[in-house]
Symmetry: C2
Subunit: 423 residues, 2 copies
């Protein structure tokens, strides 16, 4: 992407114009934050009933006193709500505490120390352990792998999922033990793994007998349109292909109810669940069942979850539309950037002129707009083309968001002009 039709003088004129605009914006003392995918207060308000629940009745449907110890798998009635969303039988769903990231962490730790269900030995005693990382992807996934010395192998995330041909080559290496995937409305591009791609990943012949897909369905029900994209049934596909233990499915209510005080879920094969619970039992006596009871009573059913998510959509969809509208209005004519128009999830992924993402983010920061650091969506923070910027529209007010995206567009143009003139 570049200014194909502009002369140097025209580019210089554009740079002057944008720089003047930038200086004005900078002088206005903005303090805006587009870094993290945090729900806004208005979204959190949708679940305020939780704040005084469960009330006097603390028994779950089975009559268990939720205040006491025990119940490692979590409350049945809450698992029943999320099992169909995860497309996993309820017996194979574990409800945990407030962070699916923690479940992912623990799965890695248990695998490194003990190996998984099909391992010949603990992953940690292998010479190397590698994970395939579709990019751009979720920075916290990559940070977990880095923390535990697991080598990351990027592959391109296309519109319908990861580049399967690239994955197919990589899994010939027995050190490749797994891959990350956010199957629905991926972070940050909004890509959805198609049924066909999911089937190919399920059927892949991998050199490692204990290859795992960490299927982080963080945005399973987080639609931005009335079209409810259905996630591929990865457990069914893997079972049908003879790899029942391949997928480990994660979900959470962090962006359904309260981001800090929700419930997370893990679903997988019966063997994997047995393995997970065996190790989890050493770490804890059980999850916060009172919070699970709150959630079960508040959400009520799958339909209850969808109704709540409709409320989120009403708040979020106009924000995403505003981002896209401003980017179109400010950048559309220049051909120096492209961006996603996601049907769900929490992010817009913006690609700017190669080699300018860091400069754009620096300019934005200096004008008071905090963006996720350049490269954050890539393993080791290294975006080889230095072009990807993740936009998180959920938290700011509509006015703040519009102001921030306007600044960002100005910075994109400035950086593009600077680079074009330097060549």
């Amino acid at each position: 992407m570049t200014f194909d039709t502009l002369s140097s003088d025209q580019i210089q004129a554009l740079l002057d114009e944008q720089t003047a605009a930038y200086e004005t914006l900078k002088a206005s003392g903005l303090k805006l934050d587009l870094t993290r995918g945090k729900p806004s207060p208005a979204q959190l308000d949708l679940s305020n009933e939780l704040l005084s629940m469960p009330g006097a009745d603390f028994a779950d449907a089975a009559g268990t006193d939720t205040r006491n110890y025990g119940g490692l798998t979590g409350l049945t009635e809450l698992r029943e709500i999320f099992a169909p969303i995860m497309q996993v039988p309820v017996e194979q769903v574990v409800a945990g505490d407030n962070a699916s990231l923690a479940m992912m962490h623990d799965n890695l730790v248990f695998a490194l120390f003990h190996g998984v269900a099909d391992s010949e030995q603990p992953w940690g005693v292998e010479e190397a352990v590698k994970f395939i990382c579709p990019v751009p992807g979720y920075d916290r996934h990559f940070a977990l792998l880095e923390e535990y010395g697991i080598e990351m192998l990027p592959v391109d995330l296309l519109d319908d999922g990861p580049d399967v041909a690239a994955v197919r080559e990589l899994v010939k290496d027995p050190a490749v033990k797994g891959m990350w995937l956010v199957p629905t409305y991926s972070n940050p591009t909004g890509a959805v793994v198609s049924e066909a791609v999911a089937a190919e990943l399920a059927a892949l012949e991998t050199a490692a007998p204990d290859f795992r897909i960490f299927w982080d369905n963080a945005y399973a029900v987080h639609h931005l349109t009335e079209q409810h994209t259905k996630t591929a049934d990865i457990l069914g596909l893997c079972s049908a292909s003879g790899h029942p233990n391949r997928p480990v499915i994660f979900a959470s209510t962090s962006k359904v109810t309260f981001a800090g005080s929700g419930v997370c879920f893990l679903g997988s094969s019966a063997d994997n669940i047995e393995w997970y619970l065996k190790h989890l039992a050493k770490r804890t006596i059980g999850p916060d069942k009172v919070n699970q009871l709150r959630h079960a009573r508040f959400l009520k059913s799958v339909d209850g979850v969808h109704a709540l998510m409709d409320g989120h959509r009403e708040i979020l969809a106009p924000k995403f539309q505003a981002v896209v509208d401003i980017l179109n209005a400010r950048l559309g004519e220049h051909g120096v950037a492209s961006w996603t128009e996601p049907k769900g999830g929490y992010f817009v992924s913006l690609d700017v002129v190669d080699g300018t993402a860091s400069r754009v983010i620096q300019l934005a920061r200096e004008a008071g707009v905090a963006m996720t650091p350049a490269g954050a969506a890539f393993p080791y923070g290294d975006d080889p083309r230095d072009r990807n910027i993740r936009i998180a529209p959920s938290y700011p007010s509509p006015e703040e968001l519009a102001a921030a995206i306007d600044v960002l567009a100005t910075c994109v143009l400035i950086a593009a002009c600077e680079q074009a003139l330097a060549q």
Copy 2:
């Protein structure tokens, strides 16, 4: 311990009498459980206000929206309540989720993968890692070590803490990286580590520069009498001895508020806290702050904690007294058992005739009384003298408890008679 003054005929007569009593008890169809230190419903009721908290006001004292992401160290106002109980500056206290066991687990995992603040390398790459385990002790502590292949070295837990001479010998081995301690009202004996023993442990010269004391102060405020035993200030003692990073202090509200839905705490040196948070940040974005807000508002202050614990004491103390009274009445004259009379905590530790604990527990089980398995309070479940039985009086009703201890006493006598006659 044995029947010093009885003839074989007298022992046989006692056995016949007790066996007849046992058969009657067995026929009565009891179903009683003395296995785990669970609070009773009446104890949990003391905290029922939590069930409808925090209500509409979800902001913490600093104005933070507790419903959203973030705040890895936990709510300041809750840490302020527990910092003095833990004898750690509030800046060096982290409030977590519902299980201090999980914090202990994560400390071990982080140490194995990364080493601790004073380590030359990760513990996991050492040829061997060993922990000193005062016995009898807490089975879940030992299970954690076993899970991660850490070798356990038992030392006797005396009335004033672990046998320091034995500890002093063991720490000459650089593979000895740490030790467990429940300093106040230990599980199961109720022993309290004296200031003198704590000072010796703090000052010990250890071959490992990164030796850690896992100071699990689970029963810090769990007094059974009006005497409030003060825990030794292990952080102060270690700092004064030039080993500021030695202690890692754990506490929780599991037996203060709700056992399944409380808050846990970690306190240590500034270096250790920095180390812990650095690794914790990879695992989670933050703890359940709404639950922490509930706890801060409900407990209010250190005095609030003590007032609540007075309520627990009123319920628990008569149960402990009943256990001791029945054991005295049934076993006192025979000299075949000894037991603790703890001033706090959750357990009575019963020592029976050497070699008969397993038999006692088997007999009890067959009569409908579930006890913690013999050996549970020892590493690898191995009580070398097969004599220790842990009694958890908290959960059953007073009537159930009395019935269960009566059965237990009968079983102790039967097993003692059987053994005496077999010799």
